[in-house]
Amino acid sequence: MTKLSPLKRGVVIFIILGVLTAIEYYFGVNDFPSILLWTVAIIKILLVLQFFMHINKVINPNQGGHE
């Protein structure tokens, strides 16, 4: 995942998040058990934390720009 250029990676993550939202909407409308909604929500959050918010930077601070 990290071999892509930061811009391209942003696009890939955006597409994944979009697809997950669509799946979530499908689950919601067709009354699937709500644990599935929670799972999709948690996966989306982890993706945003990791790739959009760069949570790792909090731990290894001297890592300048975008890895």
Binding site: M1, T2, D31, F32, P33, I35, L36, W38, T39, V40, I42, I43, L46, L47, Q50, N56
Partner: protein, 201 residues
Amino acid sequence: MKNSGFWFLLVVIAAVGIVFGFVVERPYTYRGSLIDPAVPAPEFSLLSSQGGDYRLDSRTGKFILIFFGYTHCPDVCPTTLYEMKEIKARLKDKAENIEFVFVTVDPERDTQDQLKRYLSSFDESFFGLTGSTEQLEMVWKDYGVYREIQETDNSLGYLVDHTSRLYLINSQGELMMTYLYETTLDEIVSDLNYLIKKADL
């Protein structure tokens, strides 16, 4: 690959969700008292407030919710009819699979026009059924409807004590469920949602 821990965590969460979501299937519990095996609904053909006769066997393919009451009823009947209107609203597009029927327990005063006028304040599509006392008595007996006249001295004339149960007939014309007056709106809507979805499959 530094991110391997991250992807592993993602896969674990997804797996847990799918297992608990699809594999652990919780059976749906009905809120009303289920009649199992469903019994063919006792047949009747009564004068309808929408004109003509309302024959039960000609309504297969639709769910029917029947309530026994009368227009001069002070409290339970108006609240139940209002709840029926609310149920229809909550079911949105699924509502055309269900019909709401109001059978009178006071044929002397509840004529077709009286029922039509009374139901127009709730919902035009509701069916108000009346008929001769003999006809209705047969229906009351079939559906186990308890009916007792209470003489009162005030202007309302007499009151009628009657069963406040809702009867649900499924799309095959079988009596499958009864709901008590206390069953909340959400419970009935959730049951009907489930049943209509199951019938469509």
